[in-house]
């Protein structure tokens, strides 16, 4: 569908007051008929971290962003960070609406299936967890190195379970030979919920991120979480207050390792992050996000 829109094989979508594309993959607009378009821009990661995208991906995103910037009546972003990036591209602030994502989309944990998956992975006790596509931007290679530093200092050699599909970039699965590193691949949503609930700690340390749903999902289950400073769902620009997760430097293996050990072993930190993280995540709801969209559409109609 995206390719059809890009090449003009599919024309403008007729007959609607507002056409809202929830990503940069948007149908062409037909402004002269009074239709208004809204585009959600999740991130400008290809600019913040060019090495995290393929050349083809960067070209596509640049062209799609230009179309949205030039034709959309409004742009929805999920964080102040992305709003700042858009303003730097010349988008007027009054065309940008910030809408935070929720955490209440997570499904109930299936403990039986989760136990089965853990058993198949050879995990029979506590474990650390991360989630994300295996691609450079997610910084999983550096996280694995940090885990290698942290593991000898843990009370027990708790494994690091990595959930997510293969993406692109350096072959990370080769790192599966490192002690304690376990690639789980893709899992069903009820199993992912079970892993969030069962994990001793959750880590998410991307090099850049437009929002970051996975740490919100983990925190909703009360799991102590460590994130990089580039995760605005947890620690956005201009956001005041103590973050509900341990914040680390995504570029520093040592800092990530220290953060991992802290959230996995320090009972005071764990209790604090568990309580504040769950409260923080549960305050982010899709009902509120929907209302913000309805209000925006109403203002444009």
């Amino acid at each position: 569908m995206t390719r059809a829109w890009d090449h003009g094989w599919l024309g403008p979508v007729p007959g609607f007051d507002i056409i809202h594309s929830v990503s940069l993959a948007a149908p062409p607009a037909r402004a002269r008929r009074g239709e208004r378009t809204v585009v959600t821009v999740h991130d400008l990661s290809w600019r913040r971290y060019p090495e995290g995208s393929t050349p083809r991906g960067r070209r596509w995103h640049e062209a799609a962003l230009a179309r949205a910037r030039d034709s959309a009546a409004a742009l929805v972003v999920t964080s102040n960070l992305v709003a700042v990036d858009l303003r730097a591209q010349g988008v007027a602030a009054d065309r940008i609406t910030i809408v935070h994502g929720g955490s209440d989309h997570v499904v109930a944990a299936d403990t039986v299936r989760t136990d089965t998956v853990l058993d198949q992975l050879g995990v029979h006790g506590e474990f650390l967890l991360t989630v994300g596509t295996l691609e450079p931007r997610k910084n999983i290679g550096r996280l694995i190195s940090a885990y290698g530093l942290a593991r000898p200092t843990l009370p027990e050699p708790w494994p690091m379970v990595i959930v997510g599909p293969d993406g692109w970039g350096p072959a990370l699965r080769d790192r599966g030979s490192q002690a304690g590193v376990i690639f789980a691949g893709e899992v069903a949503d009820p199993v992912l919920s079970g892993l969030y609930r069962r994990a001793r700690a959750f880590a998410y340390v991307p090099l850049t991120e437009g929002y970051g749903l996975p740490p919100l999902e983990a925190m909703r289950f009360g799991t102590p979480t460590v994130v990089s400073a580039e995760v605005p769902s947890v620690h956005d620009l201009e956001q005041s207050g103590v973050p509900p997760a341990r914040i680390v430097n995504a570029m520093s293996v040592e800092d990530i390792a220290v953060g991992l050990v802290a959230v996995a072993t320090d009972d005071v930190i764990r209790a604090d992050l568990s309580a504040r993280g769950e409260s923080y995540a549960r305050a982010r709801t899709w009902r509120a996000a929907a209302q913000a969209h309805i209000d925006l559409w109403g203002s444009l109609a």
Binding site: G15, S21, R287
Partner: protein
Amino acid sequence: MAVQQLRRAVPGGIGAYARGLLTGLAQASEAGETTDITLYASRPRRRGAGEEPTRCHDSVTPSWGRACPVPS
């Protein structure tokens, strides 16, 4: 709403965001916020491929495939 990657099972991806937003819109509809939404997305690849994201959302009319219908 045009939704790319509605069914793509990437943790924290656009599909997860879209499904969450649809859930919130359904809750808004139940609370009396009437917004008629046609969802424009790629059709399901095969039967039984997973939970249909729009099944429980009465306020959303799915529209799959090449042609997008003009509402009457």
